[in-house]
């Protein structure tokens, strides 16, 4: 988006009929007003709430930055932030790697490609709650099908989500299952625009498949991979449905990520002021990380040019 904002300042459709962009803007007005009503005004309200102490049913008091200083020393909150980052790193790296590999595979022509691609993207379309319920049954330590399958290949039963040490990695597994297809689609979209010439000359020069991927394909699709990284990062930071359904943040608080912590504060304990402060911190983290990734993407583009 950022690179598109630049040409907008140049004279638009020169030579053609000149219609003031302002008039076109009227078309966007209803949507913008609606978005302002359901997104921006709640947002400003949250900003105000974040400096208040407000429990549902209790009085509203102005506490200044009190909520934020309280957060800074709330170990449960700080742990959830660390856990969220760890979860995000894993839930970005694995889908990006697998999704890129899948895009390379689905870029080729082979029998039943359309059907197999549809099956491959089904996990990202399936209702997360429905799938999370099935995962819960599959993770069951005694009766779950996964431990049975492990026993078939001679492995000891795994604790999955029932052990604080393995719960995060297990939830990452579910996340990878869900969202690798999205990465595949984004990268596949990038590969559709690949030029053919470099491959022809590389084939003549006797390059191997791996060399062609590493030195031709990868640099060209890197911008798309970065888009996927940004989207994946944002989504992984916000993950809620699967964790909430499978573990509710447990065992103990072992899988309590920022979003789960936020939910519990707001709608379990009804500390709405405190929860609003969490929203602020959460949003700053998301925006900062997205900007950092977009900046890195810009740098990569310059290097490639």
């Amino acid at each position: 988006m950022t690179d598109k904002a630049l040409p907008a300042t140049e004279p638009t459709h020169a030579g053609g009929t000149h219609l003031a962009p302002r008039r076109y803007f009227l078309f966007a007005l209803p949507a913008l007003l609606l978005m302002a009503a359901v997104i921006i005004s709640p947002w400003l309200f949250t900003l105000v709430m974040s400096v208040m102490e407000f429990k549902v049913g209790g009085a509203i008091n102005f506490v200044g930055l009190g909520n934020f200083t309280k957060l800074a020393s709330d170990s449960r909150f700080l742990e959830s932030v660390g856990r969220t980052f760890w979860f995000t790193v894993l839930a970005v790296v694995f889908p990006i790697g697998l999704g890129t590999a899948a895009a390379v595979v689905f870029h080729r022509q082979f029998p039943f490609r359309g059907l197999l691609r549809t099956i491959f993207i089904m996990p990202m379309m399936a209702t997360p709650v429905a799938v999370a319920l099935v995962w819960t049954m599959m993770f069951h330590p005694q009766l779950g099908v996964l431990n049975y399958l492990l026993s078939l290949i001679g492995l000891a039963p795994f604790a999955w989500v029932y052990d604080p040490n393995t719960v995060i990695i297990t939830l990452v597994l579910v996340e990878v299952w869900h969202w690798t297809p999205l990465v595949m689609l984004i990268v596949l979209g990038g590969m559709a625009a690949l030029p053919t010439d470099p491959y022809d000359s590389a084939t003549i020069d006797g390059a191997s498949d791996w060399q062609m991927f590493r030195f031709i394909t990868l640099p060209l699709i890197l911008p798309y991979i970065m888009v996927a990284v940004v989207i994946r990062t944002i989504d992984a930071l916000k993950v809620f449905d699967t964790i909430f359904v499978i573990t509710q943040g447990g065992p103990g608080t072992a899988s309590e990520t920022l979003n789960i912590f936020l939910y519990l504060q707001a709608f379990q304990f009804y500390n709405l002021g405190y929860a609003s402060a969490v929203v602020m911190v959460f949003f700053v983290i998301i925006v900062a990380l997205s900007l950092l990734l977009l900046y890195m993407r810009q740098r990569l583009k310059w290097n490639a040019a």
């Binding site: 988006m1 904002a5 907008a8 053609g16 009929t17 962009p21 302002r22 076109y24 078309f27 966007a28 007005l29 949507a31 913008l32 978005m35 359901v38 997104i39 709640p42 947002w43 949250t46 595979v105 870029h107 080729r108 022509q109 082979f110 359309g114 197999l116 691609r117 549809t118 099956i119 993207i121 089904m122 379309m125 399936a126 209702t127 997360p128 709650v129 429905a130 799938v131 319920l133 099935v134 599959m138 099908v145 049975y148 299952w177 999205l182 689609l185 984004i186 596949l188 979209g189 084939t203 911008p223 888009v227 809620f240 909430f244 936020l262 707001a266 709608f267 709405l272 929203v279 959460f282």
Partner: protein, 277 residues
């Protein structure tokens, strides 16, 4: 680039086939297991070693879902909320995509992107209070309005991409003939953008249908959408595995069928139009 598998290397073909198999098998396994659980009686579902193929398959679980729960009510709720949010999303989102694409107001588009970045729970605190004050908590309307947060950005985003692909020259010719801005939109751009509207509507429908957290917070006993209704029946009634798997399958079936029917549009929307670089 050689898009086709080179003839000859049979081992390469086998290796390629195995990698395709490895890629699709996790999806197949989870869905097959879901179907298997939903068609077995409770004895088979809790057997060890697990029974893989229902023998004989039973529909008792599905019958139980419809008999013991208000499944049809929640299905109707989901349909109202998602259908309404997609319709309103199209109504405001399609013109918005046109306006943004033609005036090249990409900064506005970034605002819409921010809507996608914000965690849904952050709108929910103020909306929860607001709906409580105006007495809409536990009503379908509260959910429908909130679901616009999902549908409008998706539709606007897809439509920007589509309208950009429609050449300005067509409309310029209409202006020369004296058409107004609205006429040019209504009679030239809009008919050409119909495929884009399909893509936007399908994606908006799927993501709205799948949404869980809005209904958990704002839904009342009778206004819940399907995903949170199924989750609640799990926690409050300690329902057994078979009916739960059947319910889960029924919840996700509409979007799965839609994915199969519209896979071309979905792939196009998500890989190009929806996430333009």
């Amino acid at each position: 680039m050689s898009n086709r598998i080179k003839s000859g290397g049979i081992w390469r073909n086998i290796g390629f086939g195995l990698s395709v198999f490895a890629l699709v098998s996790p999806a197949i396994l989870v869905f097959l297991w879901m179907i298997s659980l939903s068609l077995k009686n409770e004895l088979d579902n809790t057997a060890y070693p697990p029974v893989f193929i229902p023998n004989p398959p039973t529909f008792a679980n599905y019958i139980e879902v419809f008999e013991k729960n208000n499944f049809l009510l929640y299905f109707w709720n989901s349909l109202l909320v998602t259908g309404g949010a997609v319709l309103i999303g199209l109504l405001v989102g399609v013109p918005a995509g046109y306006g943004i694409a033609r005036s090249k107001a990409y900064r506005t588009a970034v605002m819409i992107l921010i809507a996608r970045m914000t965690p849904a729970l952050s709108y929910l605190i103020p909306l929860f209070l607001l709906f409580q004050i105006v007495g809409l908590i536990g009503s379908i309307w509260a959910l429908l309005i909130t679901h616009l947060v999902i549908t409008v950005p998706i539709i606007v985003w897809v439509m920007i991409g589509y309208f950009e692909g429609i050449p300005q020259e067509l409309e310029d010719a209409a202006y020369v003939d004296g058409a107004t801005l609205w006429q040019s939109f209504r009679y030239i751009a809009l008919p050409l953008a119909r495929p884009g509207m399909m893509v936007g509507a399908i994606l908006a429908f799927i993501f709205s249908w799948n949404n869980f957290v809005f209904s958990v917070v704002l839904g009342g006993k009778n206004s819940r959408t399907l995903p949170s209704a199924v989750y609640n029946s799990l926690t409050f009634e300690q329902i057994s595995w078979g009916p739960l798997a059947a319910a889960a399958l029924l919840v996700t079936l509409p979007v799965i069928l839609m994915t199969i029917a519209a896979q071309r549009e979905i792939v196009a929307g998500l890989s190009a139009g929806g996430l333009k670089d």
